[in-house]
């Protein structure tokens, strides 16, 4: 076992991990931050997306040891300080961007990464950015709509409610 220390959602945390411990396992099993979901464990679905040093990564495809010293943000770090939903989360609720909610943590983390680099993305840019996030419920339209709305854009032109 090797000791790792990292900042997760603004708090310094540490733990003992094996070489093979995935960042997703460290977050979920050691830190009990189970908002990061494991949909496939084969790098396909994006439910496990978190930010490492500000960049979206699949936490099921990175070892915890490689995040030693890093700044990690998960879905648990998204709400506002008073516990209310942040703009992206609120937009997902307002625009019915989730049904079962399994993909939602990854969708919100990907959306946050997109809007950080590109504050007013086009519909096509949003769809392209979400290529690695799979949703089996919504059909994506309302997710795209929520992200458009979160970026302060008109959503009336996007298909389907």
């Amino acid at each position: 076992m090797t000791k790792v220390t990292m900042t997760v959602n603004g708090k310094s945390v540490s733990g003992d991990v094996e070489g093979r411990t995935l960042l997703s396992s460290f977050l979920r099993e050691d830190l009990r931050l189970t908002g990061t979901h494991i949909g496939c464990d084969t790098s396909q679905c994006g439910a496990c997306v978190v930010h490492v040093n500000g960049e979206a990564v699949k936490s099921c495809a990175m070892f915890a040891l490689e995040a030693d010293g890093a700044d990690v943000t998960t879905i648990e770090g998204q709400a506002n300080a008073d516990g209310s939903l942040n703009t992206i989360q609120q937009a997902f609720q307002d625009h019915h961007g989730l049904q079962c909610g399994f993909c939602t943590p990854g969708m919100v983390m990907s959306a946050a990464a997109l809007l950080k680099d590109n504050p007013k993305p086009s519909e096509a840019e949003i769809r392209e950015y979400l290529e690695g996030n799979i949703c089996r419920c919504t059909g994506y339209h309302n997710i795209v709509k929520a992200i458009m709305a979160a970026s302060g854009q008109d959503v009336s032109a996007i298909a389907a409610e």
Partner: protein, 262 residues
């Protein structure tokens, strides 16, 4: 996954030394290797992570060439190479998805040499030089069939040097489930001729299409290849597409790449 240790060296010399121990394996972005380990298709006793080796990171221009560190991510190539070699930046920007591009590296992609991967087409199509801790290898000698390269045990790709062409383009016909290329064609025009490299199509992995190179070197337009045909012999035939379909795509994607080259 079977158990293993992870080393995080800070220099090429330390990485190479760590790789000298029995059953050690390099870890780039892990985007291919971690799924492989999960399936227990590899059982290294030690992984040597290259992500902390700063001398293997980043992009530099030098006398008509662009040199990319072996541990440079696809996202960095996409954002930093556009001004010098736009076709290469575009190729990197269309690998997988954003999270894969934030971790996956050029060295890992070229070392893996997946028959449907994108970078092998760019390296072969540009006549790039693969630079390792030991030597420099011309792309023409480097790729040796699917998942097979000239790399020796414990040898790592420290950088890749691409001669910048006059014009180039990569056209990828995406296999939507994997996001790899069903067929991808990289075309690059240099003052001394045109190179055409094809990925995704052949059981032999990435390869050059010499008939198209000859035709395009005389006349760089999509019309120049109109009369050529691609044989389906030895092309990949699977549930995603027949060998004949892939043969057809090779020509279509080549034509599109020529038309789009800039």
């Amino acid at each position: 996954m079977y158990a293993f240790d992870i080393e995080r060296p800070a220099s090429v010399a330390d990485a190479v030394a760590a790789l000298g121990t029995e059953d050690a394996q390099a870890l780039g972005g892990g985007q291919t290797l971690i799924p492989t380990l999960k399936q227990r298709l590899a059982a290294p006793s030690r992984l040597v992570s290259l992500s902390g080796v700063t001398e293997m990171q980043g992009v530099a221009s030098e006398a008509g060439n662009i040199r990319i560190g072996g541990a440079t991510t696809h996202a960095t190539v996409a954002s930093q190479v556009g001004g010098t070699y736009p076709a290469l930046a575009d190729l990197a920007a269309n690998i997988g998805d954003p999270a894969v591009r934030n971790r996956g590296t050029i060295g890992g992609s070229l070392a893996n040499n997946d028959p449907a991967a994108c970078y092998p087409a760019a390296a072969l199509g540009s006549g790039a030089t693969i630079i390792t801790n030991k030597r420099q290898i011309a792309a023409d000698d480097y790729f040796q069939g699917m998942f097979t390269t000239a790399l020796e045990e414990g040898e790592i790709i420290t950088a890749v040097s691409f001669p910048v062409p006059e014009k180039a383009n990569y056209q990828k016909f995406v296999q939507p489930a994997s996001r790899f290329a069903l067929v991808g064609v990289f075309v690059a025009k240099y003052s001394d001729g045109v190179r055409v490299a094809v990925t995704g199509a052949s059981n032999e992995g990435v390869h050059r299409w010499s008939a198209a190179e000859e035709a395009l070197s005389g006349n760089f337009s999509a019309d120049a290849i109109a009369d050529l045909s691609v044989s389906a012999d030895d092309l990949i035939n699977d549930l995603h597409g027949s060998a004949e379909y892939r043969a057809h795509l090779v020509k279509v994607m080549t034509g599109r790449a020529v038309a789009a080259a800039m």
